[in-house]
């Protein structure tokens, strides 16, 4: 007779065999047997959150900063439904998550039992796949399969729903050996012929551009290295999506900055004017393309993506290469070296005019803003934060809104996995719990959540988690008392009718920090900002930093809705010169 294990034990045995060291969760009736077993597995540390959404975002932060799948454990009913936002967020941004949820016992399923909900039904559209385990014999197999699905191909969240009676039942467990087998859905489907075609297009292009995205980060650090090699070997300009920041050093001359709705003037104009666009691991999101009919009208488009359904979904491309970024870029680099070892030199002349044009766009300095000695400009706050932290290996998370865009524009990322932000779903309240997860994965690193005061209040309770586990995360709030991005849209599109976007009765964030048992700091004037930031950095505890910034500042540049890339709205400096009147502005 082999030794028999309970379902709850098997859950942990599976997690252990998968190399899981941290899980984020919240106990409840339907997962109590699993929580009971926690004490017997010392290699797995559980982080108790304050809300299941926090567990999900923390697991996301953990996954995105470490490259390992994030694991969360929640109870049935409200536990599972609270996790739905985080699962959807992970689905949109391709983050590998494994969510284990408790369920009412099998004989009660369908009876509207206490804390019962159709978890697999609710999470079906927001996971790559999910399972309801109705037989103890399927449990181990299912959990291992769940990890495989979450991490293979285009990563994403999965959910395993385990009824309480299954957690008590016993069966044998075979130790799991990781096999590098694909789940029948192979990922690399390109041939050398495709690579040759890319090289051929690169040789012909006079106005080429690389447009890279989160796929580079998801493909692992090696992919970022290879991308650098490729970009340097071609001399082509490169721009990145929000999710791709960090895969190419932001301070390099070939980097044009972020593109898209709040991207730089040079990046967006280069996208519009280019004759060859090489998309590496990005998905032509609507915040990137603007008006789709006028998106980069003169270019040949190459799309490298691991997900075949991303090809031709939004934008029709001329050459599709389905494969893992690392493998594809490595093939391109190898072939380029072999066939055209002097490519950069021989091609320099051909693209020199292109670079001249780009320099002209660059000289617009589209990220500039009008400084102030009276109030802290939010851009200035990010710039100072960057200057004072750039020599540390800093991990940045954000919430969603103006502060997020300013962080993307003004904080310069030079390494992958250092930038965790909710892009696809745009989840306010993402940054604080994500910072908790990042700090768990990197206990000795500096982790900062660049936040807005409205977003951060959505998941503020997770400060309590940070304090409990002594996670010294820094919550850097750009406080303008408005839902800034909402206010900006209302100013530009809705005749300055600031409907419900002002938050009255905000808490005193310094006192709030003290109430949580951590440190609160406040900066009101530009001249005290540096000292306060340094004080924050020198504090070995969680900090809430209340940075009171200009309430009226808007995030520019901006592509107004329904407009192509070459019709950007620039900042106030430029608008003054061009005399864009109030009437013109309401037309955006």
């Amino acid at each position: 007779m082999p030794k028999l294990f309970s379902g709850a034990e098997i859950v942990f045995k599976c997690l252990k065999d998968q190399g899981v060291t941290n899980i984020f969760g919240y106990p409840g009736g339907a997962v109590l047997p699993i929580y009971d077993e926690l004490k017997n597995f010392n290699s797995i540390k559980h982080i108790l959150v304050r809300h299941e959404q926090g567990a999900g975002h923390a697991a996301e932060g953990y996954a995105r900063s470490s490259g390992k799948p994030g694991v969360l454990l929640v109870t049935s009913g409200p536990g599972a439904t609270n996790a739905v936002t985080a699962l959807t967020d992970a689905y949109m941004d391709s983050v590998p998550l494994v969510c284990i949820s408790g369920q009412v016992p099998t004989h009660l399923i369908g009876t509207d039992a206490f804390q019962e909900c159709d978890t697999t039904g609710i999470t079906r559209p927001c996971t790559k796949h999910n399972w309801l385990v109705k037989d103890i014999k399927d449990l181990a197999k299912t959990i291992h399969k769940a990890f495989e699905v979450a991490t293979s191909g285009r990563p994403g969240p999965v959910l395993v729903d385990i009824p309480k009676d299954i957690q008590f039942q016993k069966t044998a467990y075979k130790n799991y050996k990781k096999i590098n087998k694909l789940n029948g859905k192979s990922h690399n489907r390109f041939s050398q012929n495709d690579i040759d075609k890319i090289i051929n297009l690169m040789g012909k292009a006079t106005k080429p551009i690389f447009y890279t995205g989160g796929g580079v980060i998801n493909s692992g650090p090696k992919a970022s290295e290879l991308l650098r090699e490729l970009v340097n070997a071609t001399g082509f300009p490169i721009t990145s999506t929000l999710q791709g920041l960090g895969s190419y050093p932001a301070d390099d001359n070939q980097f044009l900055g972020m593109l898209g709705m709040h991207g730089t003037y040079e990046a967006n104009n280069a996208m519009y004017e280019c004759d060859l666009m090489i998309n590496i691991g990005a998905r032509f999101d609507d915040r990137i393309t603007g008006k789709i009919d006028e998106f980069s009208p003169k270019s040949k488009k190459v799309h490298i993506d691991i997900d075949p359904s991303s090809i031709n979904k939004n934008v029709k491309v001329d050459l599709a290469v389905v494969g893992d970024v690392k493998t594809v870029v490595s093939s391109i680099v190898k072939t380029l070296k072999k066939k055209k070892p002097n490519f950069i030199k021989s091609n320099k002349q051909q693209i020199s005019k292109w670079w001249e044009k780009i320099q002209k766009w660059r000289s617009k300095r589209s990220l500039d803003y009008i400084g102030s000695e009276e109030t802290i400009k939010p851009q200035y706050a990010i710039e100072r934060l960057y200057e004072l932290t750039k020599n540390k290996d800093t991990y940045i998370t954000t919430e969603v809104g103006q502060h997020q865009m300013w962080a993307a524009q003004h904080y310069k990322f030079n390494k992958p996995n250092r930038w965790m932000t909710s892009g696809g779903l745009g989840t306010m309240g993402y940054g604080l719990p994500a910072a908790v997860g990042v700090q768990v994965a990197h206990p000795n690193k500096l982790v900062i959540d660049i936040a807005g005061e409205a977003s951060v209040l959505m998941t503020m309770q997770e400060m309590s988690t940070a304090v409990q586990y002594s996670l010294p995360i820094k919550i850097f709030i750009l406080n303008n008392e408005y839902m800034g991005m909402v206010r900006q849209w209302q100013e530009l599109l809705h005749d300055k009718n600031y409907s419900e976007s002002y938050t009255a009765a905000l808490p005193d964030f310094v006192k709030l920090a003290e109430a949580y048992g951590c440190v609160g700091l406040r900066a009101k004037r530009p001249e005290e900002l540096d000292d306060k930031i340094i004080e924050m950095l020198n504090t070995d505890q969680p900090v809430i930093f209340d940075c009171l910034v200009d309430k009226q500042e808007n995030c520019f540049p901006m592509i107004p809705s329904g407009k192509p890339h070459n019709q950007m709205l620039l900042g106030p400096k430029d608008q003054k010169e061009k005399k864009i009147t109030g009437k013109g502005r309401t037309l955006v």
Partner: protein, 182 residues
């Protein structure tokens, strides 16, 4: 669209829709039909008809046949999105006009009336492998197999001959000749 007050672009392009028959081989497991149908509703694809049944008891494989309409781009997306689902084995796609493929739907008609009417009703159906499954003095249940538009027109014609109830399946499809879709 200059006056659009939206954070999203608005499309006013109209494209031609084609009718396609999508055949999907799936593991016959709990929730698999919901996954496939949910994909269609969630992404705004159409379903004109749907037929599903297990075709291999040993391997637990079900075959789902979906008639859908969409632009070529949408049809491509449907196939690619279906292939991403974990329980999906393979996906075939045929145009309705495709001569190499047989499409059939089955319909049951209940007609009520006098002998004359019933006779006329049967004559309307006769060309389409009509079989009378149930017969009483004043009613018939007639089964036919035909194409969708044929069934449409028959059921229209039958109205004047005492048609009281119609039950129809979705389309099923099979390629002609010895070849099998892989």
């Amino acid at each position: 669209m200059a006056n659009s007050k939206s954070a999203y672009s608005i499309s006013n392009k109209k494209q031609k829709f084609d009718t396609h028959i999508i055949v999907v081989w799936v593991d016959n497991e709990a929730g698999v039909l919901a996954r496939v149908v949910g994909l269609f509703s969630g992404r705004g694809y159409n379903i004109e008809s749907l037929a599903v049944a297990e075709v291999d008891q040993k391997l637990n494989i079900s075959r789902i046949t979906i008639v859908t309409t969409g632009t070529p781009q949408v049809i491509d997306q449907i196939k690619l999105q279906l292939k991403k689902l974990v329980p999906v084995h393979k996906v075939a796609d045929f145009k309705r006009e495709d001569k190499k493929v047989i499409f059939k739907e089955m319909a049951l008609f209940k007609v009520v009336g006098n002998k004359q009417k019933l006779e006329k009703a049967f004559n309307v159906c006769e060309k389409f492998d009509a079989v009378i499954l149930d017969k009483t003095n004043k009613s018939n249940v007639i089964q036919i197999t035909a194409l969708r538009r044929e069934i449409d027109s028959i059921s229209n014609n039958l109205k004047k001959f005492g048609l009281v109830s119609v039950s129809r399946t979705g389309a099923v499809a099979m390629t002609r000749g010895a070849e099998v879709f892989k």
